[in-house]
């Protein structure tokens, strides 16, 4: 790749003709005379790459040749990913969730329900991942990000009773410590989404949604732990604490499955991993492929039943439901493929241009060198 010369200079020898100091170099001379080592004389053997147009040129071609196929691969992969998105915020009066979004109040005991129908033009063949997306939701606000107590979430009993100060103003309520404390936990996304397939003959089939495997394995098994281990009765464990202000249920009532209840509830864990940008999506459920014969989600009409609990209108937010298949590169994202193809082509093009320039320059160089 680079024209390089391995220029190992002799450590000693020819350069230093120390004969001049021969007779007079007594014992006193030894102490003062600098050591003749390669290091001290700055003559360590060194690789001296010379970057010239000639040596850099192949690099351009190689980058081009590697990047373009990768880019194409990424692009194709991304294109093959099926993705469907539906906004159910209910901003327009025409949208089915408009009423819910308008009449919303935290205290209402009867949840507001609405159903959004949509149709898939193409079948989703492999496992389908269901996301909820929020927009203009600043999960990365500093005040918000730090409003949690990781040791409480890790099952530390002391922290359970006495949560970190960072959790303010959701540290305690009615003189009881809040579990889980903090603004992040308090604002847990609590819409319930259910998906129904409408057969051409009109029957609604609920599509089974799997709620396991949506959080990072390490989060679920190491970072988040219920106090007192999983075998205990969570109601007892959390006794003396109260639920977050905005929650309807206690943390030990999140799920019936003890593996997915309390702090190790996966919906909760997913929510607790704060998003990078104000528009984000979070994994909600997985729709597993049943058999090789039928697609996971065949084309056709669907209904999304929403239990509308989560208000976003006050801060101009949006709520979405996203269905997506996944490839080795994750979700659909055309950016990488396009970027790779672009960079690859630019490199290749530059390589060609440089080759031409170099060819001309090289010739001129040679002709200029000859008279010398």
């Amino acid at each position: 790749m680079m024209a390089s010369s391995y220029n190992a200079k002799e450590e000693d020898g020819h350069h230093s003709v120390s004969a001049a100091s021969g007779p007079s170099a007594g014992p006193s001379a030894k102490s003062k005379k600098p050591d003749n080592t390669a290091f001290k004389q700055q003559r360590l053997p060194a690789w001296q790459p010379i970057l010239t147009a000639g040596t850099v040129l192949p690099a351009f071609f190689i980058i081009g040749l590697i990047f373009i196929p990768i880019g194409i691969g990424l692009f194709v992969t991304s294109n093959n990913i099926r993705e469907f998105e539906v906004d159910y915020t209910g901003v327009d009066a025409s949208s089915p969730c408009f009423t819910c979004s308008q009449t919303y109040s935290w205290n209402s005991s009867i949840p507001c329900k609405c159903a959004v129908s949509f149709s898939l033009e193409q079948p989703f063949e492999s496992n389908v991942f269901m996301y909820y997306g929020l927009s203009n939701f600043y999960q990365n606000h500093r005040r918000y990000v730090k409003s949690r107590d990781d040791s409480q979430l890790n099952g530390d009993k002391a922290s359970l009773r006495n949560p970190s100060k960072e959790c303010e103003p959701y540290r305690s309520h009615d003189n009881k410590p809040i579990a889980p404390c903090g603004a992040i936990a308090n604002s847990l996304f609590n819409d319930t989404l259910e998906l129904f397939y409408i057969d051409p003959n009109g029957t609604r089939t609920q599509i089974p949604l799997v709620k396991k495997g949506i959080a990072w394995w390490t989060d679920k098994h190491v970072k988040f732990r219920n106090p007192g281990g999983n075998n205990f009765n969570l109601t007892v464990v959390f006794q003396g604490t109260t639920k977050p202000v905005n929650w309807r249920k206690y943390v030990y009532e999140l799920d019936t499955d003890p593996e997915n209840n309390g702090f190790v509830n996966e919906d909760f864990i997913v929510w607790m991993r704060t998003a990078a940008l104000p528009t984000f999506r979070k994994l909600y459920r997985i729709i597993q492929k049943k058999s090789n014969m039928t697609p996971t989600l065949p084309r056709g009409n669907y209904t999304l039943d929403v239990t509308y609990n989560y208000p976003v209108r006050s801060f101009e937010g949006r709520k979405r439901m996203i269905l997506s298949t996944i490839s080795w590169m994750g979700g659909k994202n055309p950016f990488l493929g396009i970027a790779y193809i672009t960079v690859g082509s630019v490199c290749f093009f530059l390589g060609v241009v440089l080759l031409i320039i170099h060819h001309k320059y090289g010739n001129r160089n040679n002709s200029a060198d000859i008279p010398n």
């Binding site: 100091s21 007079s24 170099a25 001379a29 600098p34 050591d35 001290k40 004389q41 700055q42 360590l44 060194a46 001296q48 970057l51 010239t52 147009a53 990047f67 990768i70 991942f129 996301y131 600043y138 999960q139 990365n140 606000h141 500093r142 005040r143 918000y144 409003s147 990781d150 890790n154 103003p169 604002s187 949506i214 959080a215 190491v222 970072k223 991993r273 704060t274 998003a275 990078a276 940008l277 104000p278 994994l283 006050s314 801060f315 101009e316 996944i326 490839s327 080795w328 590169m329 994750g330 979700g331 659909k332 994202n333 990488l336 970027a339 960079v343 490199c347 170099h358 060198d369 010398n372």
Partner: protein, 1127 residues
């Protein structure tokens, strides 16, 4: 110093008096009441800065006086007080590290000083108290104590010599540890005190302590029972300085006059003024730019934050409420704390570590100069010496070199060549054979066709033998003679006659005495009162030495007054022709002037010898005047000078001598290389014009074709009034010739580069220069100066002769402060060069024969002039490139470090959420990216050493601070901005869908930051790798090691839930990131994309770059071509 001030404060003295009174022989001063008893410091030397108690506060105070440290302290305090996004640890830890390391270093140095102080202070001495010898510790000596010192002991304080064990009432000392002069100096006892030290009753009146080592005025009142008080004058020859060592004398007694911190040694123990390099100034300029950037970033963010918060629902959405305390805070206070928080968030843009790295680079880098074996000189048995490491890079920026002639360009190795007596020339035959390389029988033969009258000849030789301050080294065991310059001529096997060694402060004198010896008159020795010479008839003549009128550079001559055996009183005077000719009878001058000028032209140093017979009355008058002048306490120098000038008139010129000073080894080649490197060489010498001119020709500073412009007294002509007019005329004429004739673009640095036409050389002498510089201050003065400077700047070389030491410094200052403030370098070897060495940006001392003063005051010391070439062309060039790259790189890497964090604020509601984890923020500059650049800045050789040595013109590539001007700075800043934008928005685009894991799970904000950070660390490291042209194993180790360390650290940091962390933000973030193919691909893409422009630049620029290098290799400036052109 403090202690001294305090002692003086509490000294009970109402007012400071100009002199101090000391009662010698303590406890027995009957007239003590007559004088108010003064109190003096004790004899304790305190060179240490701290004590155990005040170390911490004082050291901290001093460290925080540095702007950078103070800035970081403020940031740290803000972090502690205000609720800021990053914990105080992130900036506190590096600061603590820096402060601790510095404190430990300074503490250790101070401990060493304490130890050294103690060693001196506890040294046992013997003091006479009431006639008894009492052993004491050195620090207990009080002013007025009579102290006994034995041979080879150092004096514990400044003593006035009372009694010596030598018969002639003298003692010998060496002041090697004071001014580095290793020769033996003679000091004299105060007359009449010799016999009765133990019963001495005397009062010494002397001036207050002052640092000049060579000045001392005092008076001693000696009282003896039944006798009148005798008054004796005291001069520097009576004063034994603390730090000097007694030699050749068994034992002396002296009375302490200055003790402790008031000794001359302690007063001289002051740090030199700090020189700052251009690079440092550039750093400060860049720092201001970045500080502005920082403030404006914080300001923009604060403003936008409040604009954004005013939108509906954004300030406090339901999911993210404020605490009560936040709500209660005053809006403006909140704005202010927000501003501070942003400052803290972005403060990494100005890193502490840069200062540490720069310091380390300078400190460690300077070792390579000390270690360079090419600087080792077998003769001196020493290599280069680095006194300050702050100026390494300045060596690569030199534009003007001011060099001394004697001892620097020449060897200061004097040989008596010839003399001329009464107009007849006497060649030294012995020397002739040596130079011709013929093996003729040598001996002290004078070949003379025409001889001067024998009487005159002998008078001349007697003058040579008498008029000097040379001493004969007494025959000693061989090992003791070893240290002394036995024979000034190396490689000659000394003939039996030569075997007696002469010791003198100036090699000229030795040469002259030896010259006289070859002509038959041998100086045998002297004691304080008489001088013995052996004449041609082998008879010993004894002269009584009456007075020595010492040499000084202003008078430029010295005289002795002796009384011959026949009772005749004679004054012999030798000195520079210009100082002798006006003082002798006119008619003799012309015959000798021819010879002097011819000799001078050949590059010899000439001295004229004159004599004068003093009648008895004359002598009596002179004697009285001299004694009176010597006794005066005030203005003694001036009074003496007046007497000297008065005595040294109406003399009779006998002859002149010529002494050769050979050129230094490879002086011409060195000078040529330096000129080829674009430096202008000015020779500043005290020598006379002709001599200096010939040296310049010999060094090829002036070439055959060089047109010489003279601005000398000779060219100006006589007459005070007309001179200035004539000067202006000449200046205008030269200006027209030099500046206007050559196109302006070719003046300045690149003059010879492309002007094949005329080279100009300028010669200026001291008198004209003082006329120029001190010209009437009505505006024309500065006009003169400007004209002069312009002429100088367009000349190839400038020779300034007849310079006083101060004038040398004046010239340096003038050039230094001229337009564009060029970097100046002074080279010198003698005490007379110290002023210019201190004045120039870089001072180089040559470890020459004239003592060590120049070396002590220099920034770098080298054994020989020829080493200057490698020092500048290789070390200077490399250090400049290294540190310039270091500085630019540091700013760059922190810009692209912080820019994504700045951009992230736009996407996190301006909430000051850091993009990176605190550990990354802290470690980035300390661990992940610091070592590669440090290794680069120590080992990089973008051009190999040999190439740099061979092609001096390469030096021009970095001239004028080329790599740290705004252009390159802008380039690096743009690069940093480009990288920062790319890192952030690249990852931003990838995160438009955060489901990047193949399991469909999503990434959060810390993964976002970690991806950006990974790209960042890899990019800046690989960017450095691309810039590295010299890959030693160390570079490989640190570059790949840093990256590996980053990865390992990230694994480790994310692999464990750390109990001391409040939030496990990075738990498994890095590993999860690595399990995402998209993250890998994004990282690779962005690294390649950010480095693409650099590689592209290399590809586009290199062919041209190589061309220029080829041109440079065959440039007409290279040594060979110059030679060819010349012939």
């Amino acid at each position: 110093m403090w202690r001294r001030r305090l002692t003086c404060l509490f000294g009970g003295e109402e007012k400071r008096v100009d002199s101090r009174t000391i009662h010698a022989g303590r406890g027995s001063s009957p007239v003590a009441d007559a004088f108010p008893q003064q109190k003096f410091c004790d004899n304790r030397i305190v060179s240490s800065k701290y004590t155990i108690w005040n170390f911490l506060p004082k050291n901290l105070f001093e460290q925080f006086r540095r702007i950078a440290n103070f800035y970081f302290l403020i940031i740290f305090l803000v972090q502690v007080i205000v609720d800021t996004p990053t914990s105080p640890v992130t900036s506190g830890l590096p600061l603590f590290f820096v402060i601790t390391v510095t404190a430990i270093k300074q503490g250790y140095e101070d401990w060493l000083r304490h130890k050294a102080d103690n060693e001196v202070n506890k040294y046992p001495v013997t003091v006479l108290e009431d006639g008894k010898r009492v052993g004491k510790e050195s620090e207990k000596i009080k002013v007025g104590d009579v102290v006994e010192v034995l041979e080879d002991e150092t004096f514990p304080c400044d003593l006035v010599l009372l009694q010596s064990s030598r018969d002639d009432d003298t003692c010998f000392v060496t002041t090697a540890s004071l001014d580095g002069e290793s020769n033996h100096k003679t000091h004299y006892t105060v007359p009449d005190t010799v016999k009765d030290v133990e019963s001495l009753h005397a009062t010494i009146e002397c001036e207050q302590p002052q640092p000049d080592l060579y000045k001392f005025v005092g008076r001693m009142h000696i009282r003896r029972d039944g006798q009148e008080t005798a008054v004796r004058s005291l001069g520097p020859e009576n004063l034994l300085l603390k730090g000097a060592t007694l030699k050749n004398t068994k034992k002396i007694y002296g009375v302490a006059v200055y003790t402790g911190m008031e000794t001359k040694m302690a007063l001289n123990y002051q740090g030199k003024s700090q020189k700052r390099s251009v690079v440092e100034k550039s750093i400060n300029a860049f720092l201001i730019v970045y500080l502005c950037l920082l403030v404006s970033k914080a300001f923009v963010c604060t403003t936008l934050k409040y604009v954004w918060q005013n939108q509906h629902g954004q300030d406090e959405p339901w999911y993210n409420p404020k605490t009560q305390q936040e709500r209660d805070t005053n809006l403006y206070l909140k704005m202010f704390t927000d501003f501070l928080s942003f400052m803290v968030l972005f403060n990494f843009i100005i890193p502490v570590s840069m200062y540490v790295t720069v310091e380390m680079q300078k400190f460690l880098g300077s070792f390579f100069i000390t270690w360079d074996k090419d600087f080792f000189d077998p003769e001196v048995q020493e290599g280069a010496l680095v006194n300050t490491s702050d100026l390494n890079e300045e060596l690569g920026q030199v534009e003007y070199i001011f060099t001394d002639k004697t001892g620097t360009l020449t060897e200061n190795n004097m040989e008596f060549i010839e003399c001329c007596i009464d107009g007849f020339q006497y060649k030294n035959h012995k020397f002739l054979t040596e130079t011709d390389g013929l093996c003729e029988t040598d001996g002290p033969i004078t070949i003379t066709l025409n001889k001067a009258p024998e009487e005159l000849e002998e008078l001349f030789l007697r003058a040579l033998c008498l008029c000097h301050t040379v001493q004969v080294k007494e025959s000693q065991p061989v090992d003791e003679i070893d240290g002394v310059v036995l024979d000034q001529v190396d490689g000659f096997s000394p003939s039996p006659e030569d075997q007696c060694a002469f010791i003198a402060s100036s090699p000229d004198e030795v040469a002259l005495v030896k010259g006289a010896m070859t002509h038959g008159f041998t100086f045998i020795g002297s004691d304080s009162k008489s001088m013995k010479i052996r004449n041609r008839d082998n008879r010993v003549e004894v002269y009584e030495l009456l007075h020595v009128l010492n040499f000084d550079p202003v008078r430029r001559r010295m005289s002795v007054i002796v009384k011959s055996e026949s009772g005749e009183v004679l004054l012999f005077c030798k000195g520079a022709d210009s100082s002798i000719f006006p003082r002798v009878r006119k008619e003799e001058v012309d015959r000798i002037r021819v010879h002097v000028e011819r000799d001078a032209k050949e590059g010899y140093r000439t001295l004229c010898v004159a004599y004068k017979r003093l009648g008895n009355e004359d002598f009596a008058r002179v004697d009285a005047e001299l004694r009176e002048a010597r006794l005066s306490l005030h203005d003694r120098e001036e009074k003496l000078m007046a007497v000297y000038n008065q005595v040294e008139t109406d003399m009779i010129l006998i002859g002149a001598t010529a002494v050769e000073d050979r050129l230094q080894d490879r002086a011409a080649e060195t000078m040529e290389a330096l000129q080829g490197a674009g430096m202008k060489v000015w020779v500043l010498t005290g020598d006379k014009m002709e001599t200096a001119k010939s040296t310049c020709y010999a060094c090829r500073l002036f070439q055959r074709g060089t047109e010489l412009l003279e601005l000398t007294v000779g060219a100006l002509g006589e007459g005070e009034g007309k001179r200035e007019e004539r000067l202006l005329e000449l200046l205008l004429e030269y200006h027209k010739r030099v500046v206007h004739d050559t196109p302006p673009s070719k003046t300045g640095l690149h003059r010879t580069w492309s002007s094949p036409g005329q080279d100009y050389g300028l010669i200026v002498d001291g008198a004209t220069l003082s006329l120029l510089l001190n010209a009437s201050p009505d505006g024309t003065g500065s006009h003169y100066k400007n004209l002069f400077l312009k002429i100088c700047q367009s000349c190839t070389s400038v020779l300034c002769c007849r310079m006083a030491p101060l004038q040398k410094a004046q010239i340096v200052r003038m050039v230094k402060s001229s337009k564009g403030s060029p970097i100046t370098l002074s080279v010198g070897d003698g005490a007379n060069d110290v002023s210019m060495i201190l004045e120039a940006h870089v001072g180089i001392g040559i470890k020459g024969k004239e003592g060590r003063q120049a070396v002590r005051n220099s920034d770098y010391a080298i054994p020989k002039l020829k080493h200057l070439k490698k020092l500048l062309l290789v070390h200077g060039h490399l250090y400049y490139v290294r540190i310039a790259h270091l500085v630019q790189y540091f700013f760059y890497k922190n810009l692209c470090f912080i820019l994504p964090q700045f951009l992230y604020q736009f996407y996190c509601g301006y909430s000051q959420l850091p993009l990176y984890d605190a550990a990354y923020l802290t470690m980035y500059n300390i661990c992940f990216t610091s070592m590669p650049i440090l290794a680069y800045s120590l080992f990089e050789q973008h051009i190999s050493i040999d190439t740099l040595l061979d092609h001096a013109a390469l030096y021009r590539e970095v001239a004028k601070n080329a790599m740290l001007r705004w252009g390159p700075f802008f380039y690096w800043t743009m690069l940093g901005v480009f990288h920062g934008l790319l890192f952030f928005f690249g990852v931003y685009c990838v995160f438009s869908n955060p489901a990047l894991l193949p399991s469909g799970q999503v990434f959060g904000n810390w993964t976002f930051g970690t991806i950006v950070f990974t790209i960042l660390v890899f990019t800046v490291t690989i960017k450095l790798a691309l810039d590295t042209r010299h890959w030693t194993w160390i570079n490989h180790f640190v570059i790949w090691g840093s990256l590996a360390f980053y990865i390992l650290f990230s694994f480790f940091w994310g692999g464990i839930t750390w109990p001391f962390l409040e939030q496990q933000r990075l738990y498994f973030v890095f590993i999860n990131m690595l399990s995402s193919m998209s993250a890998w691909l994004a990282i690779m893409l962005l690294i390649v994309l950010s480095l693409l422009p650099d590689v592209l630049l290399v590809a586009l620029r290199r062919p041209r770059g190589r061309n220029t290098r080829q041109i440079a290799a065959v440039t007409p400036l290279s040594y060979k071509h110059l030679k060819e052109r010349e012939w």
